[in-house]
Amino acid sequence: MKVLVAVKRVVDYNVKIRVKADKTGVETANVKFSMNPFDEIAVEQAVRLKEAGTATEVVVVSIGPAQAQETIRTALAMGADRGIHVQTDAEVQPLAVAKLLKAIVANENPTLVIVGKQAIDDDCSQTGQMLAALLGWSQGTFASKVDLKDGTVAVTREVDGGLETVDLKLPAIVTTDLRLNEPRYASLPNIMKAKKKPIDATTAEALGVDIASRLITLKVEEPAKRQGGKKVGSIAELVDKLKNEARVI
C-alpha cells in the first residue's frame, strides 16, 4: 500500500511574524523556514504505517520554491522513501494545491493521502477537503487516531463536541490534528541517508494544472493591539458597559 503525504514549507513556528511595510504580505526575507508542524505529524503517521508493515512506500510531495526541497529532505530523513517537488515561485492557494495533488494522485495511485489539517501560515484548512471532493474520495479530517483495516480506515476526529469515529472506504484522505502522534526527530544518520533518496522535480505546467489564484489579497495588516482590561465595581456597571460600550448585549 502506497501512502502519499503533502508537506508545506512555512515560516518557522518560533519566528515572530511581521507584516511587510507595503502591507502586501508578511516578511519572509531572512526568516527561518521549516516544515508545517501539522505536516510533520502527517509524515510521522505515514512512517509509522510503514514501520508497522501496513504501508510499503511513503511518497512526499511539496509545492513551492526551490527551497521546498529542504522540507522534502526533512521528511525523507524522518523515514519517507522518495519525494516529488512541484516547483513554483507563485502564490499557491488551497484549490491549486488540491488540483496539483489530484494530478499527482493520478500518477502515483496511493491508497491513502495524509495531509496536515492546516498550514500555520495562512490557516486555511481547505486542501484536504478540496482534494477529497476533486477525487471523489472519502475524507477523515482533524484525525487524532488512524486505524487501518482491510479496505477501510477508522479515523477518530476531533470535533467540537468531543471525538467522532468514522469508518472510511479506501482510498481516502486523512488530515492530521495535533494529538495524532508526536513526530520524531530525524537522526543524524537518517539525515545523511536522506541525501541519497530521490526527489523528482516537476511543474504545474507539466502536470497540466492551472494554478492561477482565484482570490486576490488586498492588504495584510497586523491585528489591532490588545487593550488593557477594565475593572468594574458592580454587576450593574458590567451590564451597562456590555450594553453601551461593547454593545454585545
Binding site: V15, A29, A77, Y185, N190, K195
Partner: protein, 611 residues
C-alpha cells in the same frame, strides 16, 4: 521568538560568514556533506537541546543524584536526555564512517554541542566524556578494544569516564598510587588487576547506560615489586564496570565500587564519585580481588595517551564555560529589555519609567558580557576549525602548522572562557539585581555551574604554566611565530578600513609587547622562578587572542551587506562589541605584562608563615 539558549544568527555568522565551513565539503573526508546537512545538524541540536536538555536544568540542580547499595542514581530526565542525544546519532557525529559515525567536521560538531552545553551543561557532560573516551580508544586502542568498548559508546549504549585524580594527587599526576599488577592476557589485550582510589570522577557511576568504560591511570609495578616513581610508570587501562561475556555483552561485575558522591556547588546533574578499585569485598571478578583492566598502548605511555583526550576535553570545557556565559548574557539581555526602572538621565526624573537597557551602565554590562561570551564562542570554534585542519589540511605542512597553533591556543581555549564566561555570569546576576540573587532565576545556577570550569581539566594556574613553559618557551616561540603571522595578516586587512584602523594599531602594539615580554623570559634559561608569574602572562595573552578574534569578526561585519534592518543591527552589534573590547579590555594587558616583565617576587618569596 528567538531561542533562549543561543543566538542562532551568531552561530550562522561564526560558522559561515567568518569561518566559511562550507568550504570543508570540498575535502574528501567531508565530501558527503553540504551546507544543507550542516544546517540540519545545527537545527536538530537546537531542538533536542531545547526540548530534552533545557527543561530539567533546574530540577537536576535541586534533586541531586543519590547513592544506595545499587550505586548512583540520576534524575530520570537526565537519563532520558542522554538517550535521546544518542538516539539522534550525536555520539557518533564527529567519528569516521567506519566507526559508524557521521564524519562531521569537528567545527560543526562543536557548534552543535554548544547548544547542549548552553541548555544543560551537567547533562551534556555525560556525552562529552563519552565521546572523548571513545575518541581516545579509536586512536590508541586495538581493533578488539575498539569493537568491545568504543563502538558501544558511539552507539550510546555505554558511557565513559576518565579516572586521573586521586584524593592525594590531582594536578600532580606523577604522584598517583593506584597499582596495576599483570594478570595474564585475553582477546582484549594484556590484562591487569588494579587497586587504588580515584577522586572527582564525573559520571563515575550512573544508572543511564548498560555499562561504564573507565579509562584509568595507574602505575605498573617495576621488576622489584615497587611502583616506578614519577610519570614513567604511569599507564592507561580500560576498566569496564561490567566485564564482557563471550558475545561482548556486559556480564560479570568488575571490582570497582562507588565509595561516595561529592556534593558540589554546581554541575549537580553530573554524578561525581570517589571510586574504589580492587577492594575485593563486594565483587571478585573471576574469583579474586582486583579490578580487571586492559592496557591501552604500552606501559609508561599513560600520560601522553591521556593528554590526547585531555586536549579535546580542555576545548570542551572552554565550550561549556562559553555557553554558560552565553546563556546568562541572553537571559540578562531579555530581562534588561523588560524590566522597567528609572528614567533617562536626560528626562530629569519625569515621564514614564524605561526598561533598564536604556541606562548607560546596564548597556556597559551587557556589552561586556557580549564581548566575553560571543568572543569565547568564536575562540572555541576557531580552535575546533584547527582540529579539522590538523586532520584534513591539504598539505603535511598545513596539518603540522594547525597542530602547533592548536597546541598553543588550547590553554587559552580552556582558561579564557572559564575565567571570562564566569565574569559574564557575575554581570548577568548584577543586571537582575535582587532577583538575580534568588533561585527563582537561572542566572545564579549558571554562575555556580560555571565556577567549576577554572578548576577541572587543568586549573587556570596549570594552563598558565602549560602556555608559558611548554607551548612558548620550550617550543622556542615556533607556534607563537605562527600566531603572530596570522595576527599580522588580520592587522593588515583591518588597516584598509578607516573604521577599524584604531583597533588594528592597538592590536599590533599589544602583540609587539606580548612578544617582547615572552622574548625576555626566553633569556632566563632554566631559572626555577621562570613561571612564578605565568598567570598574569596567560591573562594578557588570552586578552590579546580575543582582541584578534574580535577584530576578525568586526572585519566580516564591516564588509558584509545587510539585507534588512535586523541584519544591520546584528553587524552593528558585532562592531560595537569589538570596539568595546579594545576600549575596555585590551588595555588591561599592559599592567599584566608589566607584572610579568618586572619578575616581581612579592608573592613567590613570601614565606608561608607571613600570610
Amino acid at each position: 521568538m528567538p531561542s533562549a539558549i543561543i543566538n542562532s544568527r551568531d552561530v550562522d555568522f561564526l560558522l559561515h560568514e567568518w569561518l566559511g565551513v562550507e568550504a570543508l565539503c570540498a575535502r574528501d573526508r567531508f565530501s558527503d556533506h553540504s551546507r544543507e546537512t550542516f544546517d540540519a545538524v545545527i537545527d536538530l541540536a537546537r531542538r533536542l537541546a531545547e526540548t530534552e536538555f533545557l527543561p530539567h536544568y533546574r530540577t537536576a540542580d535541586r534533586i541531586e543524584p543519590r547513592l544506595d547499595d545499587d550505586g548512583a542514581h540520576v534524575l530520570p530526565e537526565v537519563a532520558e536526555a542522554v538517550k535521546a542525544f544518542a538516539r539522534a546519532g550525536f555520539m557518533g557525529a564527529a567519528f569516521p564512517a567506519e566507526l559508524d559515525g557521521m564524519q562531521l567536521p569537528h567545527v560543526v560538531y562543536t557548534a552543535a554541542m554548544a547548544h547542549f552545553m548552553a541548555a544543560n551543561v551537567a547533562t551534556a557532560a555525560y556525552p562529552m566524556l563519552t565521546t572523548g573516551n571513545a575518541g581516545l580508544l579509536a586512536a590508541f586502542g586495538t581493533p578488539a578494544q575498539i569493537d568491545a568498548f568504543a563502538k558501544p559508546e558511539i552507539a550510546g549504549r555505554y558511557l565513559g569516564t576518565m579516572c586521573l585524580s586521586e584524593p592525594q594527587a590531582g594536578s600532580s599526576l606523577s604522584d598517583i598510587t593506584t597499582r596495576a599488577v599483570p594478570d595474564g592476557e585475553d582477546v582484549l589485550g594484556p590484562r591487569y588487576r588494579l587497586s587504588g582510589n580515584k577522586m572527582w570522577i564525573s559520571g563515575g557511576d550512573q544508572d543511564i547506560s548498560e555499562n561504564i568504560v573507565h579509562l584509568v591511570l595507574a602505575k605498573v609495578e617495576g621488576a622489584d615489586g615497587k611502583l616506578v616513581p614519577g610519570t614513567k610508570g604511569v599507564s592507561l587501562f580500560i576498566v569496564p564496570k561490567f566485564l564482557l561475556d563471550a558475545d561482548g555483552g556486559p556480564a560479570e561485575r568488575n571490582d570497582v565500587v562507588v565509595a561516595g558522591l561529592n556534593h558540589k556547588m554546581g554541575y549537580r546533574g553530573t554524578t561525581n564519585c570517589l571510586l574504589n578499585f580492587g577492594e575485593g569485598t563486594r565483587h571478585r571478578p573471576m574469583g579474586k580481588a582486583g579490578a580487571v583492566g586492559y592496557l591501552v598502548g604500552s606501559v609508561g605511555q599513560g600520560l601522553p595517551i591521556m593528554f590526547h583526550m585531555m586536549n579535546e576535553a580542555r576545548i570542551s570545557v572552554g565550550l561549556g564555560a562559553a555557553m554558560l556565559g552565553y546563556r546568562g548574557y541572553l537571559l540578562s539581555l531579555a530581562y534588561a529589555r523588560e524590566r522597567l526602572q528609572g528614567r533617562h538621565a536626560a528626562a530629569r526624573g519625569t515621564g514614564p519609567m524605561v526598561p533598564i537597557i536604556e541606562h548607560a551602565d546596564v548597556k556597559r554590562m551587557l556589552l561586556a558580557q557580549k564581548s566575553y561570551v560571543e568572543g569565547a564562542l568564536a575562540l572555541i570554534l576557531y580552535a575546533a576549525r584547527l582540529v579539522d585542519e590538523q586532520h584534513t589540511g591539504e598539505s603535511e605542512a598545513q596539518r603540522r602548522a594547525a597542530a602547533e597553533l592548536l597546541g598553543l591556543l588550547t590553554p587559552i581555549a580552556k582558561s579564557w572562557p572559564s575565567e571570562w564566561g564566569l565574569a559574564a555570569n557575575d554581570i548577568a546576576i548584577q543586571i537582575h539585581g535582587g532577583y538575580g540573587y534568588t533561585r527563582d532565576f537561572d542566572v545564579e545556577q549558571l554562575y555556580r555551574d560555571n565556577r567549576l570550569n577554572p578548576i577541572h581539566e587543568g586549573t587556570t594556574g596549570v594552563q598558565a604554566m602549560d602556555l608559558l613553559g611548554r607551548k612558548i618557551l620550550k617550543d622556542r616561540g615556533v607556534a607563537l611565530g605562527q600566531l603572530a603571522a596570522r595576527i599580522a595578516k588580520t592587522v593588515g586587512r583591518a588597516q584598509c578600513h578607516p573604521e577599524l584602523a584604531v583597533e588594528a594599531k592597538a592590536l599590533a602594539a599589544a602583540w609587539t609587547e606580548i612578544g617582547a615580554v615572552a622574548g625576555r623570559l626566553g633569556t632566563m634559561g632554566d631559572d626555577p622562578h621562570l613561571l612564578d608569574n605565568a598567570t598574569p602572562f596567560l591573562s594578557a595573552f588570552g586578552h590579546g587572542v580575543l582582541a584578534w578574534l574580535w577584530l576578525e569578526q568586526a572585519l566580516v561585519a564591516q564588509t558584509a551587506t545587510a539585507a534588512d534592518a535586523d541584519a544591520a543591527a546584528f553587524y552593528q552589534g558585532k562592531i560595537a562589541a569589538c570596539r568595546f573590547f579594545f576600549a575596555f579590555e585590551l588595555p588591561k594587558t599592559g599592567p599584566w605584562l608589566r607584572i610579568v616583565d618586572s619578575r616581581t617576587d612579592i608573592a613567590a618569596s613570601l614565606p608561608a608563615a607571613a600570610f
